[in-house]
Amino acid sequence: MAGYLFRRVLQAALILLGVSFITFVLLYVLPADPVRQIAGRSATQQTVENIRQQLGLDQPLLVQYGRYLAGLVQGDLGRSYLQRTEVSTLIASRLPASLLLMAGGILCELVIGLTLGVIAALYRGRPLDQGLMVTSFVAVSAPQFVVGLLLLYVFAVQLGWFPIGGYGTAAHLVLPAVTLGIMGSGWYSRMMRSSMIEVLRQDYIRTARAKGLTRGRILFRHALPNAILPIIAMIGIDIGIFMGGIVVVESVFGWPGIGQLAWQAIQRVDIPVIMGVTMVSAGFIVLGNLLADIVTPFIDPRIKMR
């Protein structure tokens, strides 16, 4: 176990190193010039050059990257070009809101997705199953900004059940979390349906029936724990998809999280902030997958950690 964790953490560090390098190179070759953004349109050539030198942007790529990396290992994500603040401070102030939104989104997609998946499996081939699967297909294919705007229009503008945007109360969380979770719930319902159908035809389900157990007990004690196993690994991957999703959802709902921060930074070529958000997101994705792998052996006794 200790050896396994050690190797996985090492692996994670290598992944983060790769992510940092690729992102850094991509931002370097970007045609947009961050210095022009900082200096403003009226700045003289001299001012521009001064700023460039000050930020070290006149150095070769590898030197710049080396400096960034040196800061990174000490936990220093650099300073924002435009907001005159430490990137870590910016992210720290925005992270709780994003984590709350993600937790809401995951809860939403699991509750909706798994429930509908199980129901579809139990009514396999009947109209209810077919209806649910069409719905899930729509949920998977609908773009998040469309879903977000639609939910806003119906439940906030027309019905007035929830606030239009902003952050603060539980009511504020509902619409953004549903928007974020709805795509995943489509995926989960389809996966859960096929996993459940597969499990329901296993021999041990027949054994459970032969024991004279009630339908409910067979479903909850024998079918569900087995059917959910392949889903758990998915939740880890999901965090990655969510990191993309929150950029859109936070913009639509004016949610003050790191998605919004990233969006603003990209528009203004604020390289340290973009890098910072990317690294933190990558860290969460790696952590999510690691957690999924650590949890699985506790649920499935057949799997041992190597």
Partner: protein, 587 residues
């Protein structure tokens, strides 16, 4: 025909005019037609038949576990006078597991993999008895003790994958008998088990039945198992009862033609001795020669991810296969017989020396290795899994020729057509898909595919084990004919000693990765020396109710493990020649 003293006892279970039908796309087709039989307390009734005879579906009907599109369309299933076929689910459920219990063929998959043994046992008890968890636990441990499982209290906290197949089947039996049901249905309870384990499980069932007076319905295709356990026998074919009688009657004087065919097809130990063909002589260059061949897999991981243990799947195996010979490799699951086959075919890396046609395989260049693959072909156990479901069978047989770029399309077609006729299929069937064939036909297709490259050696890895006995007999006859005609050699791998005795010239017995005894068929079967060989032979059920053996009474632990810490290889047993090339391991 009913024996008078049995007629006095009222039947416990009475099946009358049972018809079970499947509804498939609006068409209703009977699976079982007008079946009637009685079951008395304490008796064992065997329902014997081949696949498709309707024996399993009958048992599912008794349990009320028929698939959604299958139903009882007429007749009655009377358990103590109550018709189970008309009982609503709410009244059927309390009977299931309590009054009428069932054990299944596949112990490996019949237990929930993520729940401990104990939880699965106590759950079965508490589903029917108003007892506390602690009381249920005591009853569960007692049930495990009844099925002679070692350390029952510890087993309660184990998961199914930690137990061997035989142990799991014992758990299933414990679960089924914990509530003392009046009727126990055992559907092929030992088919998936090794022969020595089968022997233990059959004896166990018989002992428990004598103790509890449970009536048992034993569903099986194995006439040897029928002869050893049944009081009365029903023979079924295509959903109909063809014969009913006491076990002694059925075996001594079968009346129906089908029963006679079935009994004639059963491979019997001792029958092989009648086939007095000489063993092919040693040739200067054997087809294949293994010299101290070993295969091992590394498992486990220490802090640095390095393996800590080694599974010695095959260890120091030496034998040769002569031209025109059928060489047998026998042993129970996990003994390494299939591993040796894979090493021979170059599918797993090996240590030691394997020579094919006098050339060591490890020193071959890529193109030589490809040529070598042409000389060795394999026929596997499950013909359905071995054929691509989306490829026409004619194309599947032709494919090896295409891969090795042999012949023009017309020549290839001609060779494939010829082979189809040769294995007893028609050339019109070449454009069909695997699912349109029966199991025996599929295996014929696999044999045709193995033959198409005109190999020198065909490895038959349990090639007839999944087939019904009547089909098995015809496929074995085909293999023999093909050998006589084309002169190749077979490496015949099987767990079934009776089949092996009927087909091989020489054989090796494997146990835990090593050969423990090797010799000609007459030497091994006529004069078995190693205790393991003797045990293997003793365990084979004899299809003759007059010769029932019973003396295996021991608690079951786990079989020894082939897993060893790295650096600690198991000791290699020396083989000693006791005369005429009959090699026996020193124990």
């Amino acid at each position: 025909m009913i024996v008078p003293q049995q007629a006095i006892v009222a039947p416990l279970l009475s099946v009358q005019g049972l018809t079970i039908s499947v509804r498939d796309r609006g068409v209703v087709r009977p699976l079982v037609s007008n079946l009637s039989f009685d079951l008395r307390p304490g008796e064992t009734l065997a329902i014997a038949g081949e696949s498709g005879s309707g024996k399993s579906i009958t048992s599912l009907a008794l349990m009320g576990l028929l698939p959604a599109n299958v139903s009882v369309t007429s007749g009655q299933l009377l358990l103590n006078g109550v018709d189970l076929a008309r009982l609503p689910e709410t009244r059927m459920r309390p009977l299931r597991g309590a009054r009428i219990a069932m054990i299944f063929q596949e112990p490996m998959t019949s237990l929930n993999p993520v729940q401990m043994i104990g939880a699965q046992l106590t759950e079965a008890i508490r589903a029917h008895e108003p007892v506390s968890q602690a009381e249920a636990k005591v009853a569960a441990i007692e049930a495990l003790r009844q099925v002679r499982i070692s350390e029952p209290a510890r087993r309660m906290r184990q998961y199914p994958h930690e137990l061997s197949g035989g142990m799991r089947q014992r758990v299933m039996i414990a679960m089924a008998l914990a509530l003392r049901p009046a009727v126990l249905i055992a559907d092929e309870p030992t088919t998936a088990l090794d022969v020595t384990v089968q022997r233990e499980v059959l004896d166990l069932l018989r002992d428990l039945q004598a103790k509890t007076n449970t009536a048992v319905i034993l569903i099986t295709h194995d006439m040897g198992v029928v002869a050893e356990t049944a009081d009365r026998v029903i023979v079924m074919q295509s959903g109909r009862l063809v014969e009913e009688g006491t076990a002694a009657q059925i075996f001594a004087e079968p009346r129906a033609a089908y029963t006679r065919e079935l009994l004639a097809a059963v491979p019997r130990l001792g029958a092989g001795a009648e086939r007095a063909a000489p063993v092919p002589p040693e040739a200067p260059i054997p087809i294949a020669r293994l010299t101290k061949a070993s295969v091992h897999y590394d498992v486990g991981a220490n802090f640095f991810g390095r393996p800590t243990h080694r599974v010695h799947a095959a260890l120091g195996v030496s034998f040769d296969i002569r031209p025109g010979e059928t060489f047998g490799l026998v042993g129970e699951s996990g003994c390494g017989k299939s591993t040796i086959a894979k090493a021979l075919a170059g599918l797993v890396p090996h240590h030691g020396l394997i020579e094919i046609g006098g050339k060591p395989t490890s020193s071959l260049k890529a193109h030589e290795r490809k040529a070598l693959r042409r000389d060795i072909q394999m026929v596997f156990q499950d013909p359905m899994a071995a054929l691509d479901p989306r490829m026409k069978v004619g194309d599947a047989v032709e494919e090896p020729l295409v891969i090795h770029r042999i012949g023009t399309p017309a020549e290839r077609r001609a060779r494939v057509e010829d082979l189809f006729r040769r294995v007893g299929l028609s050339t019109e069937q070449m454009s069909r898909y695997p699912h349109e064939f029966s199991g025996g036909q599929r295996q014929r297709i696999c044999i045709a595919r193995a033959l198409v490259l005109r190999p020198k050696l065909i490895i038959c890895d349990e090639s007839v084990s999944a087939l019904d006995v009547s089909v098995q007999a015809t496929v074995l006859a085909l293999l023999q004919e093909l050998k006589d005609e084309m002169g190749m050699s077979y490496l015949f791998i099987s767990h079934d000693m009776a089949v092996v005795e009927n087909v091989v010239d020489r054989l090796a017995v494997m146990y835990l990765g090593q050969i423990v005894e090797m010799g000609t068929r007459d030497q091994i079967f006529g004069n078995p020396q190693h205790p393991y060989t003797q045990r293997l032979l003793d365990a084979v059920p004899i299809p003759d109710p007059a010769r029932r053996a019973r003396d295996y009474l021991r608690p079951s632990g786990e079989p020894p493990s082939p897993l060893h810490p790295i650096g600690e290889a198991p000791t290699l047993a020396d083989l000693i020649d006791i005369g005429g090339g009959h090699l026996v391991a020193k124990s």
